[in-house]
Every structure is written in C-alpha cells, then in structure tokens.
C-alpha cells in the first residue's frame, strides 16, 4: 500500500494521517504501508510523515517543485508507483489529492475513485467502496475490478492513524524527471484565506454559517463570534455573499463549496435547495431561524425557532462557559 504525502506550510495535512489509518485498516496486519513524498525540500514535514504510522518513506525532494502544481509531480509519483508496485494508492481528498487522482489513474493505469467514505478490507477480487454523490443526497457502492487502484478519501471521515514513536526509515532520492516541464503551470502567488484565522471551510470539522437573517454585514460578527468559540470555520449563504457582506469564498451550496463537517450550524438561513446540496451530508445539522416553518428545519437534527440576535450570543456564551474560556 502507498500513501502520498501532502504538506501545507511545510506541515503534514491531517487527511494524510486519515489515509494512513485506512491503509492500515484495509490492508490487515501483514500489510506494508509505504509513504511517498514528492515536493520541495521539507525536512520537518517529511520527518512528521515518517512518524505518522508508516513502514518506510520514499522522498523525492526538489526546490522547483515548490512552484509547480500537482500535474508536474504526478509523473514522478507515477514513476515511483511503477517501481513500488502497490495494490492501492491512498490520497488525501484535498484539492491537491483529487487533482492528482485522475492523472495517476491514467499514468499508472489504475482504477480510481474519489470522495471515498468506506473501503472494505482488501480481499482477492474487486475493491469495494462507498462514496456520497449528488452532494450527499445519495450514496453509491462501487467496485474497482482492476489490479491497481487510486483512492482519494473524503476528509474527516476516517480516524487518523496513531503517530508512531519511532520514525520509519526515509529514503531520499534526487528527482530524475524534469520538475517544471517547459510551459507547465507555475505558482506565482498565494493569498491566505479571506477568513485568515480559523480552519478552512472545506476542511473544518465544525462550520457555522450565516444567512440573510443576519440582516447587515456588521451583524455577521455574531456568527463569527460563535464560530470562534467553537474553533469552527465560517460559511455563508449566497444571499450573504451576493450582497457582498462576506467574500464569495465563504459561500456554501450548489454554486459555492460543498462541506460535510461533523457539525453544521445554519443561522438565519432558510434552507433553499441550492444551499442544502452543499451541506446536507454534514453529520449533525443545527438550525436557528425565527420562522418555525423554514425548510432548513426539515433537514436539521436540532432546531431552535427564535430570534438569532438573542439566541446566537447566548449560545456563544454557553460554549465559552463549558469550554472554560
């Protein structure tokens, strides 16, 4: 089994630990799990990777990788896969991992599935998988019949592997293929999330979203305060982003981001179908809305009918109280 590393700001991203956990659980006791890192030199990140529960690590580091996007790295990863010959390659289901998945499927001639939420333990025969489709409104059971498979896992679905006390051996190699092929896309800049603080929307395990019911851009601070108390990411309905109260990067729904956190709190959001498709697959949904008939209550697990301007600050205070800050 191979797990491909992804680092951000030089640190291992959490979904990679989840992928290692899955590799361990589907491979059974005898399985070897090899970590592959292809990217810019990153001694700290590769060190972290080597202590994340792997048997060994192969790292191909090269400075120019820092400016490339995943398609340039895919060739190097595919070359390593041909040599390591695993049955399954697991990727974090981040934007990076999913961009890589389709390329690897062709370059390494493997079956591929993304957004995977369940994998049966490996046995002879096809690999059996489950994944949500249609924004979580349906679940698909899939079989990959081939000898090789590339799987990108849905973040926050699987428990992360426990870190190991001892580091797995790391074999460092110099890149042999061109790192930035002529004409390849190169990164020229990066602007950190508009939210700045707090976890990113697509990755957060708790999301607190506000809608038109918040009424003004200034009032949106009520939503943000609750998010902060929970360590949650902030989201918004399109009514909010269209009005320019908050940037479009926060929009959840059909024309925004799809999220599936452990907990989604919808504040002053009516629950239009275009919003719902972006969040119904959340594990637990809470709605706060003054209209007891609002459609959002049909998909929510817990509802409070009432005025958000009173309820949300009370909730923020209660969260702070139980969390002792």
């Amino acid at each position: 089994m191979v797990v491909v590393a992804e680092l951000r700001d030089g640190r291992l991203v959490e979904p990679v630990r989840e992928a290692i956990g899955v590799a361990r659980s589907i491979g059974g006791a005898g399985a070897t799990v090899i970590g592959v890192y292809v990217g810019p030199p990153a001694s700290e990140g590769v060190g972290e990777f080597s202590r994340a529960g792997l048997d060994r690590v192969v790292a191909v580091e090269g400075e120019p990788f820092a400016r490339t996007t995943s398609s340039a790295r895919a060739r190097t990863v595919a070359e390593l896969l041909r040599e390591l010959a695993p049955r399954v390659v697991l990727l974090a289901g981040t934007s990076e991992g999913r961009d890589l998945a389709g390329r690897l499927a062709v370059e390494w001639e493997a079956g591929v599935a993304t957004n995977v939420t369940a994998v049966e333990p490996l046995a002879p025969g096809p690999i059996q998988l489950t994944r949500p489709i249609f924004g979580g409104r349906a679940t698909q059971g899939l079989e990959l019949p081939g000898e090789r498979a590339v799987l990108a896992l849905r973040p926050h679905t699987f428990p992360p592997a426990a870190a190991s006390a001892d580091a797995a051996p790391v074999e460092r190699r110099a890149p042999t293929l061109p790192q930035v092929p002529v004409g390849a896309p190169t990164m020229t800049g990066f602007t950190a999330s508009a939210t700045g603080r707090g976890p990113d929307l697509a990755e957060a395990s708790i999301v607190v979203s506000g809608g038109r019911g918040v009424k003004t851009p200034e009032n949106f601070a009520i939503v943000e305060a609750l998010a902060e108390s929970l360590g949650a990411a902030v989201g918004a309905s399109r009514a909010v982003t269209d009005a320019g109260w908050r940037p479009s990067s926060l929009q959840v729904g059909q024309t925004g981001k799809s999220v599936s956190p452990q907990l989604y709190i919808a504040i002053g959001i009516s629950g239009a179908i275009q919003h719902l498709v972006g969040m119904v697959s959340s594990r637990v949904i809470v709605a706060i809305n003054s209209d007891a008939q609002a459609p959002i209550f049909k998909v929510a697990d817990y509802g409070i009918a009432g005025d958000l301007f009173q309820l949300v600050p009370a909730l923020t205070a209660e969260v702070r109280r139980v969390r002792g800050r």
């Binding site: 961009d99 389709g102 062709v106 249609f134 349906a138 079989e143 950190a192 799809s258 409070i304």
Partner: protein, 265 residues
Amino acid sequence: MEIVVAVKPVPEAETRLRPDASHASLDPEGVKFVLAGYDESAVEQALLLKESTVGSRVRVLSFGPAPRTEEVLRAAVALGCDSATWVEHPSDLLPDAVLSARCIATAIAGPFSGLVLCGRQSGDEEGGIFAGALGALLKVPSLGYATNLRWKEPRGQLTLQRSIEGGLEEVESSLPLVVGLQQAWNDPRTAKLPNILKSRKAAIEKIPWEATVATLGPHAIPGTVRRTFRLPPPRTGAKMIRYDSPQDAAAQLVRLLREEAKVFP
C-alpha cells in the same frame, strides 16, 4: 486560441433522486438533464476568453447517450459555442470519468495545443477525476479548482486563480492546458431566444459508439462498476428545542450536542 469545453449532462438540481430497478444507479426516467453547475462555469469561462481574444473559437464536446447529450450541446451552442461534437454511447452503458476522458481525448484527436475547459467535478457523481485524466491522456498539464482565467496577449500566457484549502493560489501557464473550473461566482449568461431557436438547427458532429470502440479497443470498458445507489434514510425533521430563555435554549443545545449527538468536544 483553440478552446475546447467538455460538458456532461446532469440531472437538474431540483431532481428527486430515485434508484433504478437494479438499485445500482439513478433512475433516469422523467429526470431533466441539463448543462449545470461547474460545467456551466466552464462554458461561461470559455465564452469570456473567446470574447477577450481575437480569432478564438469554442468547440463544445460531450460524451453521453441520446437525447440528453444532444440537448446539452445545443444549449451550449445557444450560449455561444461555435461548434459541437457528440460522442455517443448506448444508454445502458455507465461510463466512469476515465472512460469519458478517453472518449473526449479521442474526439479532440491529434496533437493538441489549445485550452480545454471542464467543470472541476461533474454535477452528479462529483469525482473531480476527469480533468486530470484528460490531461494525462493528451499529455498536457492539468489543474482543477480554477477561476478567473485571463489571457495575457504579449507573452501568450494564461493566468488563473485556484480556490484551494487555505486560500487562493495564483497560477500562470502557457498552452496547452486542461483546466477544471470552480463555479463562477458571477451568474453565467443565459441564452437569448433567437439563439436558442438557431441552436435547434445547428449541425452537431456525431461520433458513433462503434467508432469509439474501434479506437479505444480494450479501454472502451469502464474501470468502475456501480453496485448500489442508496438514498439516505429520510431526515425526519429537527428535534425542536423548547425553551424559556435564550440562555436555556443554548444550554439545552450544548447538552444535546455533547451527550446525544456527541459532536461537541
């Protein structure tokens, strides 16, 4: 610039999903298939680029069964695409993203030096595999999650942004390139009536399945087998919290999240 847009007909967002008799996939009976979501953004982006560069043409391609694929291609022509190619497959075939990419790559044919746009994931199965697979097949770079493509004339460079975890990445690239589009935030254009009428008569190049099978050989079989299509148990509606004061409501909710739902640390 040669711009190719690859689109997939998908059920409109309001569709009530039902499994078919085999319980392996969506029952297409009565479902309206449309050009939607990410693909709509890809078409819009293609047209914006065409309008901002001299001598560009937009060719729209789709791989799918009758009649939905032809309808979606006509919708794209009505929006302003210059030509359309339909790679047909039998309606009982359930292709996966890699097979779709192979078929589209075959239809693009020859050494490709332009720009391919598609949605960063399909509006139904949401795999996000197609752009990467197509890039690998055409042997050109690929990237997804893109918005805001601009063509910089003097140097012949494309600039774009990628909306990814943690922020916005700025990317510069030359062509050829395959790009998976994030949803455009601005509402894409809608077709004008005369153009809709004209699109009904537009010539659509059709590549029959037999021709594709002849080209792809053993690769014409999907590498993915759909086994089940399940709907989640219907959500039965929220447990409504009755309360005396906002403080009481807050305390009850926090207790439920901790003790019953177990989502609260």
